[in-house]
């Protein structure tokens, strides 16, 4: 069963399409990376899954049921636009939001304390939200998204504003939830996070789904067309006709090869030019490269 499935979903505002003909399915128990440049339609898509917006066309199903007010009880949501009532106590806010999602208040309170301790916010439970730093508020918001143990969690830029230690904790929680059978949708610009964590991706650009599927399969389909070379000496070989583009790095360069090009020719040209090669490796393209190639911009 798919946790989320979209079929030809279209949504426009005042005639301007924000999402057009997007189809997508998210396997239960997987982590999906939802990628796309700013204004691509990610947030609109998420909002339709949450029944905040209603699609103009197409159908959306969550756990094989059409989207209703009930289906969203099973979703935890961390929106990109973050905010909590500034004058409420940290624990009260968490309990209030959990209660709105159907949890009993006593149970919500018990779990809120466990989570606050895990994120080292135990001493702050009775403080007002506005007394917390931005990063702390971020953690409180993350807690309120996962407190009711939803089978589906949608996180929009969950790492922004977090220091490495807390980012690691959030990452651990996400992996933990996946291992317990929950489905996680991670919407972000940060490719390295997606590359590290996601099982599958969906790339949206200008309202359209331009690439979707298993991350490993996608990368393999691009073949090993990226050369990582470390060298000293002349670099004229980088102008070889087989090279499509070059990204100079400190120790050498990363070169993208043209389709059907033979990397051996580049190696030969490098040796002949007198460069001292210390590393020559063929790699799959990075997600960043795929993103740029598909959208034409970073």
């Amino acid at each position: 069963m798919d946790a989320i499935s979209l079929e030809n979903v279209t949504k426009s505002y005042d005639g301007v399409p924000a999402v057009s003909q997007v189809s997508l399915s998210v396997r239960q128990g997987a982590i999906l990376g939802l990628l796309g440049p700013n204004g691509a339609g990610k947030t609109s898509t998420i909002r339709m899954v949450l029944n905040i917006l209603v699609p103009d066309e197409g159908s959306i199903r969550v756990f094989d049921r059409p989207v209703t007010d009930d289906t969203r009880q099973s979703i935890g949501y961390l929106p990109e636009e973050r905010g909590l009532y500034p004058r409420m106590q940290v624990q009260s806010v968490i309990v209030f939001l959990a209660a709105l999602r159907g949890m009993a208040e006593a149970e919500a309170e018990r779990r809120a304390r466990l989570w606050l301790d895990r994120f080292e916010l135990g001493d702050w439970a009775k403080k007002k939200v506005q007394d917390l730093s931005k990063g702390m508020q971020q953690k409180v918001q993350f807690i309120s998204a996962v407190l009711h143990q939803p089978p589906l969690v949608i996180l929009d830029e969950p790492f922004s504003g977090l220091d490495p230690v807390n980012a690691a904790t959030v990452k651990d929680v996400m992996l933990e939830m996946r291992d317990q059978g929950s489905t996680v949708v991670l919407s972000t610009h940060r490719m390295e996070q997606v590359e590290k964590m996601c099982d599958s991706i969906c790339l949206i650009d200008k309202g359209r789904n331009v690439l979707a599927g298993d991350l490993r399969a996608i990368k393999q389909s691009y073949g090993k067309n990226t050369l990582q070379i470390e060298f000293t000496g002349p670099d004229s070989f980088l102008n070889h006709p087989a090279v499509a583009s070059v990204n100079r790095l400190g120790m050498g360069a990363e070169a993208k090869l043209k389709a059907e090009a033979d990397p051996q020719q580049v190696l030969r040209a490098a040796v002949e030019s007198g460069a001292q090669i210390t590393r020559f490796e063929l790699l799959e393209p990075s997600l960043n490269d795929i993103f740029i190639e598909k959208t034409g911009h970073a």
Binding site: D14, I52, D69, R72, P79, G83, L84, Y85, F96, L100
Partner: protein, 422 residues
């Protein structure tokens, strides 16, 4: 229902628990009562001015009657004037006046009254403090009575006879209502105007509180988390009811203190000042019931409108500019309530009080002045209910779209377009 209840509870508690709420709830009536009591105290305990004066009468014969008139005690038993001396036919008026001016400057005398022999000329009051206008009227009366009395006697007519003949009658206004008759001393108008101001102020105040509360969720970006688990309609309803609960709590406390004060105010005023004429006001219970009905009707109507304004805007400045949408009909009520006050049975008054945007203020006003026929009240309530339904429907639509819109303030045509979105 549970979600609406949770929202009501949060909205109510966060409002009621604030210091501002507690302070305004307790301080406002205390301050009001305190001010009234302070005024009553000051009025009764400031010793009324007792002006010591000397009367100089050039022609003679008038000084004594004027002295008698001036020294007649006031209703409260206190005297306003003490005539220390009367000087009839002074041989040298200049010397006398010079001496009196010296005494006034030395502070041993308050004033002197100079009555000329030729009464076509002005009588002069010489005093250090010419700003005290309250003394002029009794002085003029005392002088006129003495002068007229003297002239009448000269023609052989007795003053008392003239007073007897020329005494007018007193007209008393008595209000007739279902519950009987009561003497009117202006308390009907006082109650009516208090009611209008109270309703207008509280509708405006709680409307703006609702608007701010919606705006707060937008500016703090709490909105998106909320509507990922509750429907905008639930959020709107919960918010309006929550603020209504807080409003009702405050209103109830104010009404109770007001009621206590109205019942015991006369007693308290009497304790401080036995001669106080504090009218004991009886506010009929039926009026209170209707006021509460129309207040809540008006509150739901206007707060739904204010909530929509809050939802359509992204910051306080924009909301201030757009809030005329909700404020205008309310302010217009204040412009036209005079029509109802003048003649509550006129066609204009009847029609205006049936229009839902004005009914919350104008119908209670009519009820307080003169009980309108029951069908008119019921029609007005039904129309109000219909308008509440339509406004909440429209507001929920604007709310649903607006709460996720950030950026520039929408124009009126844009708002109308939002209404048509599915």
């Amino acid at each position: 229902m549970r979600k609406i209840w949770l929202i009501i509870k949060r909205e109510y508690l966060t409002r009621v628990k604030t210091k501002a709420f507690v302070i305004s709830t307790l301080i406002v009536p205390l301050l009001g009562i305190g001010t009234i009591l302070l005024i009553a105290f000051l009025v009764s305990h400031t010793s009324p001015q007792n002006l010591h004066l000397v009367i100089v009468d050039e022609a003679g014969g008038l000084a004594l009657p004027v002295k008698q008139n001036l020294e007649a005690a006031l209703a409260n038993g206190q005297r306003q004037f003490t005539v220390t001396d009367t000087i009839d036919r002074p041989p040298s008026p200049q010397a006398v006046e010079h001496d009196l001016r010296g005494r006034i400057n030395a502070g041993t005398l308050g004033a002197y009254l100079m009555i000329p022999s030729d009464l076509t000329q002005s009588v002069e009051l010489h005093t250090k403090n010419p700003g005290n206008f309250t003394l002029l009227e009794p002085l003029t009366t005392a002088l006129n009575e003495a002068v007229i009395g003297a002239r009448l006697s000269a023609r052989g007519i007795h003053v008392d006879d003239v007073n007897e003949i020329s005494r007018g009658v007193h007209l008393q206004v008595i209000k007739v209502s279902q519950s009987g008759e009561s003497v009117e001393k202006g308390q009907t108008i006082a109650i009516a105007i208090t009611l209008v101001v109270l309703l207008y102020m509280s509708l405006l105040m709680y409307g703006i509180i609702t608007m701010r509360s919606v705006l707060e969720e937008k500016t703090t970006r709490t909105m998106e988390v909320l509507i990922s688990s509750v429907r905008p309609f639930q959020l709107l309803t919960g918010k309006i009811l929550g603020v209504a609960g807080a409003a009702f709590t405050q209103f109830l406390i104010w009404l109770l203190t007001l009621g206590l004060f109205a019942s015991y105010g006369a007693v308290m005023a009497a304790m401080l000042n036995p001669n106080s004429s504090f009218p004991s006001m009886r506010v009929p219970v039926s009026l209170l019931v209707w006021v509460v009905c129309f207040f809540f009707g008006g509150y739901f109507l206007y707060s739904a409108m204010f909530a929509a304004v809050g939802a359509a805007c992204s910051n306080e400045q924009d909301a201030h500019q757009l809030q005329w949408l909700a404020v205008t009909p309310l302010v217009f009520t204040m412009v036209i309530y005079g029509v109802v006050l003048n003649d509550p049975t006129s066609t204009a008054a009847v029609v205006l009080s049936e229009i839902p945007f004005f009914a919350p203020v104008l119908m209670p006003l009519r009820i307080s002045l003169q009980m309108p026929p029951a069908p008119q009240i019921i029609l007005s309530l039904l129309l109000l209910l219909g308008a509440i339904w339509a406004t909440i429907w429209a507001s929920a639509k604007i709310y649903r779209i607006g709460i996720l819109m950030y950026g520039k303030r929408p124009t009126l045509p844009e708002l109308v377009r939002w209404l048509r979105y599915s």
